[in-house]
């Protein structure tokens, strides 16, 4: 059976791959949006943190024999701790000045991280083994579904929705949202806003690292994997608008799917389709699909 002359197996395969990429876009843009909301900083280092997450998993497996499932917890903790250090030593000096400095500082951090990993591991990609439990594929009748890819989509959906629930439906999330609106007032109510800010950055960093571990077995682990991704995620964030959590998730997944479709029908444009959509959205709705004009 064919769809527009493309074998359905190839078609669905690309669609699934698009959904996998979309899951990473969703997780990263979610973290970016939460950090921007509370800190007012566009975290360019987000891609680098994602890359470090993947390397923590890779080093863990190949040097210390730490398996995938442990890495899934360990990498976010390690990178989250790194996030605490970054926030406490560097970012906290920038909250009262123009947000462009936050972007520039985190850009510098991304260069440092990328340079260090390049020095240590070179630019060529490292392979990360798919864990035993998720190897192979399941035949669904109309397509063969690689187990690991299905797991990535499932896991990141759970994480994204969990984050949404935490922010929109819990008391902690209410503090967080209040802090985004008016930090001085929240502080006056006796809530430790600096601590909340620190944990938010650590949480966003951890989320990026988790995406990195999930990505490690589907892509090559390289020092450059983060910077290639972060620019696309910026476009995703511009398209979605950083105002809404669910908006970031939906935009991320949808753009992944569209990118997958483009790979099927017009592969030459698959690299640029996200940017073209961004340009179109800016022409029609400058605040982004889910954004509010401030």
């Amino acid at each position: 059976m064919d769809i527009f002359g493309i074998p359905i197996q190839a078609f669905l395969g690309q669609l699934l791959l698009g959904l996998v990429n979309g899951s990473f876009y969703a997780m990263l843009s979610l973290g970016l949006a939460v950090i921007f909301g509370l800190l007012g900083i566009v975290n360019f280092a987000h891609g680098a943190l994602y890359m470090i997450g993947a390397y923590v998993a890779w080093i863990g497996l190949n040097k210390f024999g730490i398996n995938y499932w442990v890495s899934l917890v360990l990498a976010p903790v390690v990178v989250g701790a790194l996030g605490v250090v970054i926030e406490r030593t560097l970012l906290k000096h920038l909250y009262k000045i123009d947000p462009i400095y936050g972007l520039l500082l985190t850009f510098g951090l991304a260069l440092i991280a990328e340079g260090l990993f390049r020095e240590q591991f070179g630019v060529s990609g490292q392979q990360y083994e798919v864990p035993d439990l998720l190897q192979g594929a399941t035949n669904l009748g109309f397509m063969v579904l690689p187990n690991y890819r299905a797991w990535v989509v499932f896991a990141s959906l759970v994480v994204c929705l969990g984050t949404w629930f935490l922010i929109e439906r819990t008391r902690l999330g209410a503090y967080l949202r209040a802090g985004t609106e008016n930090p001085a007032l929240v502080q006056a109510f006796g809530i430790n806003v600096p601590l909340m800010v620190m944990l938010t950055y650590a949480g966003g960093a951890g989320l990026a690292a988790l995406a990195g571990v999930l990505a490690a077995p589907v892509i090559q682990v390289t020092p450059l994997m983060g910077s290639n991704l972060i620019i696309i995620v910026f476009a995703v964030v511009v398209i979605g608008g950083m105002g809404s959590i669910l908006g970031s998730i939906l935009t991320g997944l949808a753009l992944g799917l569209i990118e997958g479709l483009t790979k099927v029908f017009y592969p030459e444009a698959s690299n640029i389709v996200v940017f073209v959509i961004m340009a179109i959205v800016l022409m029609i709705r400058p605040a982004g699909l889910f954004g509010k004009e401030k």
Binding site: L90, L94, Y101, L103, L116, S227, F234, V237
Partner: protein, 317 residues
């Protein structure tokens, strides 16, 4: 920032500019390698163009390498494949970059502040992918072997020293042009937009048109830098259009002092000199070093060399 200085500081500044010019005139005669100096001057033009946006209009373009890279490719193609003379090649490259700047600018100015930076970065990445796949750019190899030719059909540019003085003349012209813009009524409006955009709107200025014109001028000058670079080095490659170069030009401007005239020039010479000096000594540590300078600049040295110098002069008075 510059406007508030007293006349003595202004006079010292003028003397410093003349000293700087004198240094640039004799530089190749006192043993400084002309190709290195030309390359540094190109990046100085690039940084000055960028500073017109960041320093004087308050717009952070994080994709300026796209325009330098575009002009580098256009000039390379026009001179090598179409056989045009160097001045027409440079003109074509500059206009081409301005045309791309017009499109990118029209889209990017629809968002303010930090979003503007993200949009320009994303648009520049799109342009990068176009160069990666377009047939005329030579893909990963780039355009090689671009001849320098004869300026106006008369002056052969193959000699490094001749070309150096041509580039120096262009650089001085760009520097004066930017000073003229900033001191003109138009430049004052740009500063007003930088300081308080809603206020400028309420005073009746069509802010978007002012910003777009500044963007196009800046991208044209960035293109001029790229075109000259192709003539000097004889090639145009993907690294001319890569986001890391967009980051470097931000660093040059920040390090030298954004919103000052000489700052981006000092910054460009510092960074290019550093890269040249460290290239065979530290290998890929160079990125780490650039990153560290970035972080230090943002945390502790936001005014840059010239900005700190001006502040020190004012305190001393």
């Amino acid at each position: 920032m510059v406007a508030a200085t007293s006349t003595t500081i202004e006079r010292r500044g003028r003397i410093a500019l003349w000293v700087g010019l004198a240094f640039l005139i004799i530089a190749p005669l006192i043993g400084l390698y002309p190709v290195f100096m030309m390359k540094a001057l190109c990046y100085a033009i690039f940084a000055c163009a960028f500073n017109l946006l960041l320093g004087f209009t308050g717009l952070l373009s994080f994709g300026h390498a796209a325009f330098l890279g575009a002009a580098a490719y256009f000039t390379g193609w026009l001179v090598r494949s179409a056989g045009l003379s160097p001045e027409l090649g440079v003109l074509g490259g500059t206009l081409g970059a301005a045309a791309i700047g017009l499109v990118v600018g029209a889209i990017a100015i629809r968002r303010q502040g930090i979003y503007f930076a993200m949009v320009t970065l994303a648009m520049a990445q799109m342009v990068y992918f176009v160069w990666l796949q377009a047939p005329f750019t030579g893909g990963e190899d780039g355009l090689q072997g671009v001849p320098r030719g004869k300026l106006f059909g008369l002056l052969p540019l193959a000699n490094d020293l001749t070309l150096y003085y041509v580039v120096l003349v262009v650089f001085v012209a760009v520097f004066l042009f930017i000073m003229r813009i900033v001191h003109s009524p138009y430049g004052q409006v740009l500063k007003a937009i930088r300081e308080n955009e809603p206020r400028a709107i309420s005073l009746g200025y069509d802010v978007d048109r002012y910003k777009l014109l500044a963007f196009v001028i800046s991208t044209a000058l960035a293109g001029l830098a790229g075109s000259l670079k192709t003539l000097i080095l004889g090639f145009a490659t993907l690294s001319d259009a890569h986001w890391s170069l967009s980051g470097e030009v931000v660093l040059m401007t920040l390090l030298g002092g954004m919103g000052t005239f000489a700052g981006p020039v000092i910054g460009a010479f510092t960074i290019i000199g550093l890269q040249d000096f460290l290239a065979d000594r530290v290998g890929s540590w160079i990125n780490v070093i650039i990153g560290v300078i970035f972080v230090v600049c943002v945390v502790a040295f936001r005014r840059g060399f010239i900005g700190e110098l001006l502040a020190w002069q004012r305190r001393r008075r």
